[in-house]
Structures are given as C-alpha cells and as structure tokens.
C-alpha cells in the first residue's frame, strides 16, 4: 500500500511577515494532500549535531524536543486549501461598472460574476491608470500588512506596494495603511515610556528568561496571558511544554483575568477573577500595600527609578484625595480587598515574574497604556532584573533579539527576496485604527502621533502627522488583508467607509470569500502555500532556527495564482499603457526567476555559506542551525540593568525606569489620560466603558474578546475539524454554527439562556449573534466571545447586525486615548438578549438562504451568480475528495 507519493515541507505559521514557526511534513498522494504531520528532526540530525540546549533545574531537565511542535490549526490546514469557500476564479461585482454606475452602496450585498484573469487585470490596470492620472497614486490605500500565511518569494502581504513603488518617479507614492502593534497596544503606547524596551514595548532583553523563571521564580503570573492559544500561529506548542515543566518543578502559576483561558484551564494553581480592564485599579492597590507596609525594594527604587515620588504621591491619595487602597480598588475591579492585600503581601515577599503572550485583556482595551505602565512599575518596585523578577514573553521568540530560550548561532533572514511590504516608515500613511475616520471625514483632516507601525521606537510617538495634508483623499483600496471588519476597532464603521461613494474601486486579492472580500469590486483568487513554491524562515519555534525549501505540494486550486504572480499579471496589463508603465514587469521582478530568488535569499541571509552551503540546503530541503556556543553565559533578562544601572542604562531619557515619563511630560504636558505618571482612568477621550458608566444601564456587561483559540485572528474559521469542537462553535436549533458566547450560570439564569440558545450582543454600534455556552469559565456579570469570527452580515454599517459573531464590528471606534492611536478591541460594554432565529429568518430571507455548509460555514457560491459557478464547481469537486 502506498501511503504517500512524496513529502514536501511547508511552514504552516500564520503571522505573515516572512518568518514564523510550524514547519510541517506534508505527504502528497495522487496529487492531493494526504496528511500533515510534524517534521522529525531526528531523521536528519542528532542532538549533538545541533549542540542541543538543556535546562537542568530542581532535578528536572527540559529539552527542546526533536520534532516540530505543531498546533491543530496547522495540522488541519489542508481543509483551508480545499475549503468550499475558496475564491474559485477572478470575480467582478455585478453592479460595479467602471464606465457607469459603481454602486458603492451595494458593496457587501450585490453578488459576483466570473471574469477571466485577462479581463480582471485589464479592468484593474484601467482603474490604476485612471486613479494615477486623476488624483495621483496617493489616492490608493494599500492594505498589505495583516496576518496570513508565511510567504517570502511567492508573495507575502504588501506585494502590491512593491509594484506601486515601480510606478512614477520614486518609490512610496501611495498611502499605506500602517499596521499597528495590534496585540500589544498597551506595551507599545505605555510601557515603553517606562522602560524603553524596543520596539514592542514588552520587556526586551528577554535572554534566558524562561530559564531564569525556572531557577529563581516562586511564581509566574499570567495577567490575561494565554500561551496555550496566542503563540500557536507563531511558535507552536513550546510555550505549552514550558508550562507543564514549570508545574513539574514547582513554579506556581497564578492567573489574573475575567475568564479561564486555555492555559488557566490546564496549568493554573490559582485564578483571581477580575473585571475586564480594571487591572490598573488592582495594580495601584498592590502598590499601596507595598508602600504602606514596606514591601518593596527601596534600595533598588533609589538607584533604578526616576520619579518614584510622583507615583507614591498619587497612590497615597495626596494628588486627588483618594488613596488607592485595596477597598478603593475592590469597588472598581471586583477582587475583594482581603484578597488584594494577601496577594500583594505574597508578591512582596516572593520572587515573581509576569508572563505575556500578546493579547490578553487590558493591553487591548481603552487606556491600555496605563495598566501596561503600572505592570512595569510593579516589577520595578520588586527589583526588575533581580533573579526571578522579569517579564517573560511567550511569543515572537527570535524577533528583535528576544531569546527567552537559547538561540541558534545563526539567525537567518531571507528578506533579500521578500516580495512584500517591509515595515519601515512609509512616506504616506494613515493609522489602521483611523481608516474609517479618514474616509468618512470628507470635509476635515485627521491628525495623530507616530508612524504607528509596530517596529517604531518610542520617540516616534512624538511626531505629529495628518491626512490628507496636501495630498488627495483615498479613492481606491487595494487589499490583500481583507479582515479589517473582524479584527479592528469598530468594523461597522469600516463597512460604512468602504461603502462610501468616494471609494471608487475596491480591489481584493485573497484565497477565501470571507470578511472584507465580500465588499470588493474585483476579487483575485489567490493560492494557498500548498500550491506554491517558496522558502521560509523559522526563528520562533523555541528549538532551533531553521530555513526551509518549500516545494509546491499540489496544483493550484481553481484558477488561483500566488500573490506575486497575481501582481505580475497586473503589471503585464499595465505595460499596455506604455509611458511610465513601459517595462514595468521587468522593473518589478528585476528579471529574477524563482531559482534566482532562492539563491539570492539564501546567500544574503546572514548564513555562513562555507558551513551551510546553498547546495546542501537545496538537497536536504531544510537546515537547522545549532545552538550558539556558551549560551549559558548570556545575562538573564534585565540582570545587567539590575546589577549596574549606570553601566547598562535603559533607552529612556533618564536611562532609568521612568515612573515619571520625561518624554510624555515634555511632549504632551496637557494630556491627563496618558500623563507622565500612570493612573486609573475611569472615563475619557470618548470611552465610557466601565460598569459604573452611564452607558452600562443599557449595556450592563463587559465583554472579553480574546484572541481566538481556534483561529489566528480571522484565519481558519472554515475548518470543519475545529468547528466541531465544543468551544469553537455552538450549533443553534437552525443548524447554523454560531460563535460561542460564554456566560456564567447565574447570568444565564437571569436571562433565561441555555446552552445552544442563540443570543445577540448589542450596543449602539450594532449587534452580533452568538451561541450560548453556559460555563464557569467566565466570572459573573462578564461575557466572553473570541474575536475574529467570519462575518455573515445581515445589515451593514453602524447599528448593523451580524450573524457570524464578529464582535469587532461593535468595538469602540475611538483609539486607546487621544494621543495614543492604539486599537480598543477588548473589555467594552454590551447587552445580551435571546433572539428568535425564526423571526430573523423571516426578516432576512435572502441572507438566511445563502449557501451554507455547517462544516465550513458560508461557501463561495453564496455570493456568486451565473457562469462563475463553473469555477466554483471545480473547487467543490476537489473538496468532495478530501
């Protein structure tokens, strides 16, 4: 019996910026993907070959593991390739006529018809030329920065920007939608101003912090952190293995959050439930206990901290007459005062580190910079950098020198052949959080601070920008990142923006008919990684750095092409216009073949070629780079700063931990919300999202909308094998698979809700449906629904209704605070009520009649009419076999 014809390697990580983990062995049989499985390093390497690192602590040994540590979303990924929701062929919205009525108001409503690649590219080229000649290319908004498959040569996000760089006298003449630090807003906009850690704002240096915790910490706090979920798409399951090991060696794991996330559910020794985004009150009360009971490291504060007295003055109530006592905090955060005191004393007497894995509640809520700064203060008061006292990051290992586990001696980068947008300061841009404002505010300009891009340094936040300035307004959107509405701050406003008449052309290139794609005027069908050849780079797995030669596993599904190939087709069509478009394809491709790109990427990848020749890479298909020698000598975390703050100053103006931020004081002297000292902010800058806010009378529950367990943001929502897991979808009585809403039994009883009921979450921004899961995994009064569900819109725009449960649609639209344009996508007020699905069906008969398969959700044919179904059938036929 043949169990496979060939095996190819694919990087099945989903962060989408040229490097991610999760290299899988993909077995192909009869031209189809037969199975996806871990790659076993020990088939090719011995531990000695790799200079295997080991942590030997408290009588136990932790080893990196000799196979890749794949999450289920990678192992099940063939279902995405063969999804009945694949874009089958180039599509045009039926009532978008570039020479007549464009009907922007029908975006999201009118269906699509099949066109050929030539027709599509001719239409696109004509529009690009028209836009260029009418407004200039700055009228094109490039959305090319989202999460997605890990690609380098075959076309990562932002491939279209590289083409536009080759049109006109100089590069950069278009408007970039600047990608925010969307999962670590508070660290970026807040904590950096305390400890200067670049560029994400979480603790950096991270060297060997995973080991330091094992050796020296009594406990590890998980402050909303969920290493069993958020690192899956980036680094796989090494964080999970570490959590088990910490339990084995007696490192206590304490979770502070409104919900029992997937790490808490398995690893926690203690859960302290807290109301969403009230952590700042809890943190201030801890500081109060420490200050009044002498439970902090005064000597350290003396030598390592700038402006402690300002903070002390505020905490003790001298500034506003309100001491930040445990009793004061208990009212705000719902943690009883006796528990706050006990916890503060426990912490004050122990060595404790705090973990994060991106996401978590408070760091994505309104005023997120405040609790993020306060966390850095608390670590500072306990001697940050002391053995056992660090902030430990469970994700993005290998990025920006973050090595909580021992690094490989070689850290390859394959950017020399990277075909996407590089996260550098763009010439023209708008913050992603302000896209609706930019488009809808036709008679006004908008302004903000900072390039907003997640790789910028602290000082960048002091630069002011505005749109449209002296340039044109946006009239075209070209997106390969069509998930704004289900990932960002106020998707219903985004829907209004892209349905605005000023948007003359909305082009999307994507693999699936999902989310924003359904509002495009033209959709280009894109191949998945299985259908493409590429190389990849894995620095994030927590084992060894790796480069992988990814052969094409299967033929393209439907009429799809890779992103790069698709943009090449557009270049070809543009060349017909001559002039500035003459020779465009050659300029864009630089005449390089795929093999050239592989060679150039590898040879410029900071890889010692004498030791690791290209030929070996091409033959073996992957290279693991051994652990660096003498890795044990790396100083742990912030230990250098701890021992010698003068010799190893921080990247803050004073070089110290700034409890009083000199930068913020200088540049934003009038900002009371993100002032020089972090504080409790009840309401401000358009946010009234507290249980004591007046809005809570209408919307009495705070919603936790974590990064999803069974998706990476908007990705993976059509995988049948996750959709049948109880926490992934809830089947309503109508057979539809709803996004779960967790509700505590006491609240469920109050509303008469039972498991399997369909309910809606609502506020003035709109309504989203969900399936009820009555559970003890969420504290009373709080509701929980993962973010990023695929939209199934019944009514578009503000006040609209979504059946898919995409709660970003009803998030606040305002940013973190006035001068910090982060997203606010967690911990906001909603109401809940049961809905009658039969009534909805009567009210929205067309939407309820859309082609739907409970195994995968909406299918492509739901939106396609006429001949295009020919293409759709070719996808469906393949689906039948898998």
């Amino acid at each position: 019996m043949k169990i496979s014809d060939k095996t190819v390697l694919q990087n099945l990580g989903f962060c989408g910026f040229g490097g991610a983990a999760n290299v899988a062995a993909v077995d192909v049989l009869d031209g189809r993907i037969a199975r996806i499985r871990p790659l076993h390093y020990d088939d090719d390497y011995s531990p000695e070959d790799l200079n295997e690192w080991k942590f030997e602590v408290r009588g136990s040994t932790f080893r990196p593991g000799m196979k890749t540590l794949l999450p289920p979303i990678s192992l099940a990924y063939k279902k995405r390739a063969y999804s009945p929701n694949r874009v089958p062929c180039p599509l045009k919205r039926v009532d978008w006529d570039p020479n007549g009525e464009r009907n922007p108001q029908n975006r999201g409503i009118s269906p699509y018809e099949r066109i050929s690649w030539d027709e599509a590219c001719d239409l696109i080229a004509a529009e690009l030329v028209r836009i260029h000649d009418t407004y200039g290319n700055r009228a094109i908004l490039v959305q090319g920065e989202g999460h997605g498959e890990t690609k380098i040569i075959s076309g990562p996000h932002g491939c279209q920007s590289v083409l536009l760089d080759n049109i006109g006298p100089e590069p950069g003449e278009y408007t970039i939608q600047a990608r925010q630090p969307d999962s670590w807003e508070g660290w970026y906009w807040g904590a950096k101003h305390v400890w200067g850690c670049e560029s994400h704002g979480q603790q950096n240096p991270q060297d060997l912090v995973a080991l330091d915790v094992a050796q020296h910490s009594d406990a590890l706090l998980f402050w909303g952190s969920d290493p069993e979920t958020t690192p899956w798409g980036w680094g796989g399951l090494q964080p999970s293995r570490l959590c088990f090991w910490y339990t084995e060696i007696g490192v206590k794991q304490i979770h502070i959050a409104p919900d029992v996330n997937y790490t808490n559910a398995v690893h926690a020794d203690r859960w302290i439930p807290i109301l969403p985004n009230t952590d700042a009150a809890f943190q201030l009360a801890i500081a109060y206990v420490w200050m009044t009971e002498g439970l902090y490291d005064r000597e350290y504060v003396e030598t390592h901290v700038e402006g402690f007295d300002w903070f002390e003055y505020y905490v003790l109530g001298n500034e506003d007459g309100v001491p930040k006592t445990p009793a004061w905090a208990a009212e705000k955060c719902g943690v009883p005062s006796y528990r706050i005191k006990a916890f503060a004393r426990y912490w004050g007497k122990r060595r404790i580190s705090i973990s994060h894995g991106n996401g978590g509640g408070y760091v994505r809520s309104c005023f997120s910079h405040e609790p993020a700064r306060l966390e850095a203060y608390l670590l500072g008061m306990q001697g940050l950098g002391k053995p056992g006292v660090n902030q430990f990051k469970f994700i993005e290992w290998g990025i920006q020198g973050i090595f909580p586990v021992p690094p490989s001696a070689v850290q390859p980068v394959l950017y020399a052949s990277y075909k996407g947008w590089i996260m550098a300061p763009p010439k023209y841009f708008i913050p992603k959080t302000m896209t609706p404002d930019a488009i809808l505010g036709q008679d006004r300009s908008i302004s903000w601070y900072g390039h907003v891009i997640c790789s910028m340094n602290r000082e960048d936040q002091f630069l002011g920008f505005e749109y449209p300035g002296d340039g044109p307004r946006i009239h075209m959107i070209w997106s390969d990142t069509p998930c704004w509405e289900t990932c960002w701050n106020g998707g219903n406003s985004y829907q209004e923006a892209v349905r605005h008449e000023s948007i003359e052309f909305y082009l999307v290139q994507h693999q699936w008919m999902e989310n924003d794609t359904l509002m495009a005027d033209i959709v280009l069908p894109i191949s998945t990684v299985f259908e493409l050849a590429d190389v990849s780079c894995d620095l994030n797995n927590g084992q060894w750095a790796q480069v992988t030669y990814e052969e094409q596993a299967i033929e393209p599904v439907g009429d799809s092409k890779g992103d790069y190939a698709a943009v090449c087709e557009v270049a070809r069509a543009l060349e017909k216009y001559g002039g500035i478009y003459e020779g465009l394809l050659e300029r864009f491709t630089q005449g390089r073949s795929f093999d050239d790109d592989v060679r150039i990427a590898y040879e410029n990848g900071e890889i010692p070629l004498d030791e690791f020749p290209l030929e070996d890479f091409l033959e073996r298909k992957y290279v693991l780079f051994p652990t660096e020698k003498d890795w044990e000598d790396r100083p742990h975390g912030f230990s250098n700063f701890y021992e010698d703050p003068e010799g190893f100053p921080l990247r803050t103006p004073s070089g110290k931990l700034e409890f009083y931020s000199l930068g913020l004081a200088e540049h934003f002297p009038d900002d009371k919300v993100r002032g020089p000292v972090a504080k409790w902010i009840e309401e401000a800058d358009g946010h009234r999202e507290r249980i004591h806010s007046d809005r809570a009378q209408d919307y009495p529950h705070l919603l936790v909308s974590n990064h999803p367990r069974w998706r990476v943001h908007a990705q993976h929502d059509d995988i049948p094998w996750t959709r049948e897991i109880a926490t992934c979808k809830v089947r309503g009585k109508d057979g539809y698979q709803y996004e779960p809403i967790w509700i505590h039994p006491s609240d469920a009883a109050h509303y008469g809700l039972e498991n399997g009921d369909v309910a809606e979450l609502y506020n003035e921004r709109g309504r989203v449906l969900g399936g009820i899961l009555v559970t003890e995994r969420v504290m009373p009064t709080v509701l929980y629904q993962d973010h990023g569900a695929r939209t199934d819109v019944l009514e578009y725009g503000v006040g609209g209704l979504d059946r898919g449960g995409a709660n970003n649609l009803i998030c606040p639209t305002k940013t973190s605070s006035r001068n910090a344009v982060g997203e606010v996508t967690n911990g906001f007020l909603v109401g809940i009520r049961k809905v009658d699905v039969d009534e909805l069906r009567e009210r929205y008969p067309q939407a309820f009649a859309r082609d739907y398969d409970p195994d995968c959700g909406l299918v492509a044919t739901a939106r396609i009419v006429g001949d295009a179904n020919v293409g759709a059938r070719s996808v469906s036929e393949e689906v039948c076999h898998v």
């Binding site: 289920p72 959590c243 088990f244 005191k341 049948p720 996750t722 109880a726 003890e776």
Partner: protein, 271 residues
C-alpha cells in the same frame, strides 16, 4: 508482542491535535483494506472528552482522549456475525470494512461509544491504530505522533515496565483486557479560602481537614493567599473542618459525589 496506548493526562493540554490528525488521516481518504473513508465530520475515532470542573474561582478543564481500547475480550467482536473484527499480531483490533454488513450490533456493544456508524457507506467504523501506517514503516499512530507532550504513548506493553501498574483503564472497559491505559485520570477536587470578613483579611495557616463518608481523610493548612485545595480525591460526601487559632472552628459539608466543588470564601469568626 502486544501494543498498548498509555495516555498521561497530566500532560494533556487539550489542544485536540490527536482528534484532528485522526481526521486528517482518515476523513476523505480510504485506506482499504484497513479502513474506509471517514465522513468529514461527526465521527471521532480519537475523541477528546472535555469537561469543565468546579466553580468560580476554582475551575479546571479536563481533557480525556478516548479511543477504541482494542480490548482483548472485545464485546464488539463477540457480537459480530460476520467476523469483521480481526486481531492482529500486534494486538490491534481492526474492523475490516469489506467484511462489515452494517448490522450495527458492535456499535451498541461498545461500552466506550468508540464505534461509529457510517450511514452512507453502511458500515461501522473505528480506530485502527493507524495499522496501515504501522505496516508501512511508521512507529506510531497519528495521534501519538502529533502530540507535542508525548502524552500519548504507543509501545509494546512490556516496554512500559512498572508504569502500567500505576495506570488505569476507563471504567467501561476495565474488565475487558483493554490496551488503552491512563495515568492521572481526573478524580475530584474541593477548594476554597478562609476569610476573616470582620478584619478584611484572609486567614493564613488555618488547618483544613476533610473527612469522607467512606473513610478518606486528608489535612492541609491554608497558604499565603488563605487558600486550600484538595485535588485528586475520591468522589464522596465530605465534611470539611477549618480550625485556626483564635477562631471558632467551622465545619461545612461538600458533596463531591457528582461534582468538583469550590467552597468559595468561608467565613471564620473570631472566638
């Protein structure tokens, strides 16, 4: 030599990899004569049974990967009139699709619910131990191969040594010579905190003693957060007594026959 699965639940993180890769292997792909295609959804030859235990703020989720136990004394095989169950030399019990007549007697006979009926193909189906892979050079079935924690092991029974003597089978099959063993199957827990509400303080170092109706007894002291937790104790009716110097003793009952319990914040009154 007979193979056996050993599943250590203290290392199961609930990722569902085992359930998912089983589907990756069998859904939509036929491995005749070992197995016919599994429907895309609805069958779980490897099924993760998930259960949320306890109440706020003491909550835990148990995940128990459950599969055909390949019992030596298999009731499914005994009721099969068409000899479709074939015992391999490695001990795996394979239900050969080509011999199955669709009578469904085996589906009803399995105490684990591990056999599924495929209406379209009109056959019963279940875990094969990935015999088609084992016969083609693989050492492990897909579920074990995909587990990042080695929580699912698959070896010759003898290779486990003394580990199997600590292991248990699931209750439904324990007398049938099952080849699937578990370590750390969930039992019960009871937890809570001791609080002096008048003083607005937790009570640290209080002695907490539990006594079960069937005789199980244990004792511990509240920790620095005033908390106590008895884990992996037998299901039973318990009496819980908290004593602390200067306080009236407090006794409460805890019925753990059906559920794990959070007793919440228990009030200690100054003597």
């Amino acid at each position: 030599m007979s193979k056996a699965f050993l599943i250590d639940l203290s290392h199961c993180n609930g990722c569902y990899n085992c359930q998912v890769v089983c589907k990756d292997e069998h859904c939509g792909t036929s491995w005749l004569p070992y197995a016919a295609e599994q429907p895309v959804t609805g069958q779980f030859w490897m099924r993760v049974d998930e259960k949320t235990r306890g109440q706020v703020p003491w909550v835990r989720v148990s995940y128990v990967p459950t599969l055909c136990a390949h019992c030596a004394d298999a009731p499914c095989a005994a009721v099969c009139a068409s000899d479709a169950f074939v015992r391999r030399s490695d001990g795996l019990l394979v239900l050969e699709p080509e011999k199955c007549t669709g009578c469904q007697a085996c589906v009803d006979a399995c105490p684990m619910g591990a056999i599924y009926f495929n209406d379209d193909a009109f056959i019963a189906q279940k875990c094969t131990g990935c015999a088609h892979l084992l016969d083609n050079g693989w050492a492990l079935p897909r579920c074990a191969d995909s587990c990042a924690h080695d929580a699912i092991q698959f070896k010759d029974e003898a290779e486990y040594g003394s580990l199997l003597s600590e292991a248990e089978a699931l209750p439904g099959v324990s007398g049938l010579g099952p080849k699937v063993y578990y370590l750390h199957l969930p039992k019960r827990f009871v937890a809570g905190s001791a609080v002096d509400f008048a003083a607005d303080e937790v009570v640290i170092g209080a002695t907490v003693a539990i006594s079960g109706a069937k005789g199980f007894r244990a004792e511990l002291v509240t920790d620095e957060l005033g908390d106590f937790k008895f884990d992996q104790i037998p299901d039973d009716q318990y009496s819980v007594t908290i004593t602390a110097e200067g306080y009236e003793p407090l006794t409460v009952t805890a019925d753990l026959t059906e559920l794990d319990l959070s007793l919440g914040d228990l009030s200690l009154i100054k003597a």
